[in-house]
Homo-oligomer: 199 residues x 2
DNA sequence: ACCTGAACACCGTTCAAGT
DNA sequence: ACCTGAACACCGTTCAAGT
């Protein structure tokens, strides 16, 4: 029976969760679906587009919330991190598709964060940049966290000096995010000061 | 005549600059050096280690400077960005090796930034985290900037809506970094407030 | 419209055997 | 000690031909 786009994405997500991103190959996926590798290229132009679709599915649950701008930024980032941690190599996959511009969902998340930033005292023209800065942080932190998580889930012992990097990850995540939120809060003073300089 | 580690790294860096990270393969590198692919594995245990050595060479010039903590953070980040932009796909390569923990130079840069952070009003225990947050930003921003740079150097036209993301990159870079530096400056107030809560 | 089969042009890594 | 040659077990992508 016919192969649908949804089946392909389902199977790809299952492969990711079970074996990780290194085993999420077009050939492996085709084998799993019992089709020839070429069949996938009827439904997706290339591997990047397929990975983008998987990323978008992972990010489905990441939504905006009502509240002030701090609540919105913190909630979206917490949901983004949770979504990434819920899938093997989730952070790595989403980072790659974000970098290649193939994730629609990430574009939407940047928009939400940019909107929240302009509710903060960030100038509208800087909203997207502030949003991207937050996203770079969440992706970087979570990729790091997840690789350590998966490393010691695999039974390998971490050197003692790295132990501090694995305890209280949620608290550590909040600390770095607060740095950015505080920076955004400080932006008003600078905007006002800059405006004065031009008077 | 004999193949030395240095020759391999030199040739790898040349390959990177001329053709990009996708063409920096063990086989291609061996061909360039007129040796068999297996020869490289006498000098490096695997590809990751080789890429780590190339990353470390790219980051040679990134050094600490004297000054107050803001100057140090800003100088190190500016130098890091410059170093990445000086090599094709430099940001992507260094991001990958940093994530895999194979870059000694990145470890050193994190140490320098962590030290600067503890000169800022960041608690010593949070210094490394603040440093990593800064690094996530620099790598994310620069990878983004470089991919756009290389994309339109290749002659492709960018959609109008993306134009705002390519103008004044240095100024835009400084804006995001200021967000983090301001956040670090705000950390003292929080540390003091938190201490009060425990009295 | 949707898929197969087969090919094209590659990969990273290992390892017995050579010098 | 250092390297070759050849193999192993794969990749992503294309495309004529089939149904």
């Amino acid at each position: 029976m016919q192969l649908h786009k949804r089946d392909v994405i389902d199977a790809a997500a299952a492969l990711l969760d079970s074996y990780g991103i290194a085993d999420l190959t077009m050939r492996r996926l085709a084998r799993e679906l019992k089709v020839s590798p070429g069949a996938l290229y009827w439904h997706f132009p290339n591997k990047q587009a397929l990975l983008g679709a998987v990323a978008d599915r992972i990010l489905q649950t990441v939504d905006d919330v009502p509240g002030d701008w701090r609540d919105r930024v913190e909630a979206v980032c917490a949901r983004l991190r949770d979504a990434l941690l819920s899938h093997t190599d989730g952070a790595e996959l989403v980072s790659a598709t974000f970098a290649s511009g193939h994730s629609q969902a990430m574009a939407r998340i940047v928009e939400v964060l940019a909107d929240a930033a302009t509710q903060a005292p960030v100038a509208p023209s800087k909203g997207e940049l502030a949003a991207r800065t937050v996203v770079y942080y969440v992706l970087g932190f979570t990729a790091d966290e997840q690789s350590r998580l998966q490393w010691d889930a695999s039974g390998a012992a971490l050197p003692d000096e790295q132990a501090v990097l694995t305890t209280n990850p949620t608290e550590r995540f909040a600390f770095g995010l607060r740095l950015l939120v505080d920076g955004m809060a400080a932006a008003r003073a600078e905007t006002v000061a800059a405006a004065r300089n031009f008077e």
